[in-house]
Symmetry: C2
Subunit: 135 residues, 2 copies
Amino acid sequence: MKIGQVAERSGVPAKTIRYYEDQGLLPAADRAGNGYRVYGKDDVHRLQFIARARSLGFSVKDVSLLLDLYADRDRASGDVKQLAREHVTAIDAKIVELQAMRSTLTRLMERCHGDDRPDCPILEDLAQAPVQSPS
Amino acid sequence: MKIGQVAERSGVPAKTIRYYEDQGLLPAADRAGNGYRVYGKDDVHRLQFIARARSLGFSVKDVSLLLDLYADRDRASGDVKQLAREHVTAIDAKIVELQAMRSTLTRLMERCHGDDRPDCPILEDLAQAPVQSPS
DNA sequence: CTTGACCTTCCAGCTACTGGAAGAACCATA
DNA sequence: TATGGTTCTTCCAGTAGCTGGAAGGTCAAG
């Protein structure tokens, strides 16, 4: 299989596959006589693993750790769970941050006419930005 | 005022102030005879505006637009509101994405022993990642 | 033999900074 | 005046995870 086929079957763009190889997520692919990378079924599988982990928000570095754990038959599931737990904690922090932004923005938007007039509580808030009065 | 003072009063690091100048968020600062940047009160204010807008998640480019609108006495508040609305939409999309990740991860974690045994539904999911059966 | 699709490498750009190096300038003290 | 410590200057590189594009090699079809 050439990189184009693997890309199609795994859903990971060829450019990204080369990038992952460069980053060490994939072992350096064998090369055909013409220099083209050659892949097998396992590579498609590995790329799907990577894509799935990435879609859950794991960093490339963490995916690398997950791949190591996956390959290790003597792994402790506690290690995997711990990685996931930390990731969820980070996700929660982001959600909280985004919700705070969202809440402030919608509050300001409710007070903004949103018409042709120039007076705008949103800009006024940005300009004054004094204190955050609770509710 | 030198950059250090402005940094302290605005809460924006000196490095970041230079970066903002470079990016066009701030006009090129006047220079003293020794080449040091010289600032006034208005610059502190402008930096606070920027910092506040950034803390609400607006991109640097959007902050630039907001500064333009702020400076324009003939602005339409509708333009500001529209910018905010689009931003909230983007935030909502991110929240939804993060919540989906979170939900999948916690579901997998609940099924994982998290002990010394090697069998781990988290890794199995990443490896199989077949379909997402509803609930 | 040429065209077109695919492959290769390498460099640049995206976002929003941040760290660090090298060098000038300022300030205070001994 | 020497010296040391802090602050300033510019410029380059690195962070995360790709993505786009240039320049060029390979291969199958017509």
